[in-house]
């Protein structure tokens, strides 16, 4: 053993290198909460919380001094479009939840009352569906920017 230090270094390298190749730690997987929803109200709820999580992430990016100001402005522009869409969605889902409660309450009422409640619920459901669709594009745009910066 002419050079024990070199032999030790080689032994360490040979031990650690295969360990690097085989190691599996903390695999990152981005979930899509909206895909798990089955009903309109669940979908709206998932969209609102997903959007909140995306803005929280965007805030961290904006606070990072290393982020270029142009990118921060692009995030700001996307947020100014997406937040009103989320507000419209909240109004639509609240109206839907109320219309559904009214319909359930009217189940023991007269036929005209039940029909009115059913029509109101149908309209609220259609408006909610439109609001979910309308929120999709602006929220996706902000999400794409966040992921482009982070990914």
């Amino acid at each position: 053993m002419r050079n024990p230090l070199r032999a030790l270094a080689l032994a360490c390298a040979l031990t650690l290198t295969p360990a690097c190749a085989s190691m599996q730690v903390g695999e990152t997987r981005i979930e899509n909460p909206v895909a798990a929803a089955r009903t309109l109200d669940q979908r709206a709820y998932a969209v609102l919380h997903t959007y909140a999580a995306i803005i929280e992430e965007a805030t961290d990016i904006v606070r990072d001094p290393a982020t270029p100001i142009g990118f921060k402005r692009a995030l700001g522009q996307a947020e100014r479009v997406a937040t009103p869409a989320a507000e419209t969605l909240q109004i639509a889902v609240t109206a839907y939840v109320q219309a559904r409660a009214d319909f359930e309450a009217a189940s023991g009422e007269s036929q005209p009352t039940l029909e009115r409640a059913a029509i109101a619920l149908t309209i609220a459901a259609r408006r909610l569906s439109e609001a979910v669709l309308a929120a999709d594009a602006p929220i996706s745009e902000l999400e794409d920017l966040v992921r482009a910066r982070r990914g």
Partner: protein, 107 residues
Amino acid sequence: MLNWIMQLQLLLAALSTFLPLAPSESRERIADVLDAAAKALAAGGAIAGNIDDLAVKLAAVRAEVEAMVAAGRQVTADELDVAMARVRAASANFRAALETAEAAARG
């Protein structure tokens, strides 16, 4: 992402153990290169940590929605209020942070 960075960091550690085998005149330069790569990976790890934050939050929302679906439960008005309050708070924080960034950029 974190997994990938962790593997690269371990590979760097393994490579650095080869340092004594390098010719003495270039050993310092190689050590500098490995050190710079390790710092770059550490910065990348911090960024990956942030994307992991988002992944954790989205996974929590998904788990909550899946539980609702499994129980056949409807969303309540109170839950919607909480969700919207979170959106409004996040939006206000974002706009404040953007104003601070704009002020810093101006001057």
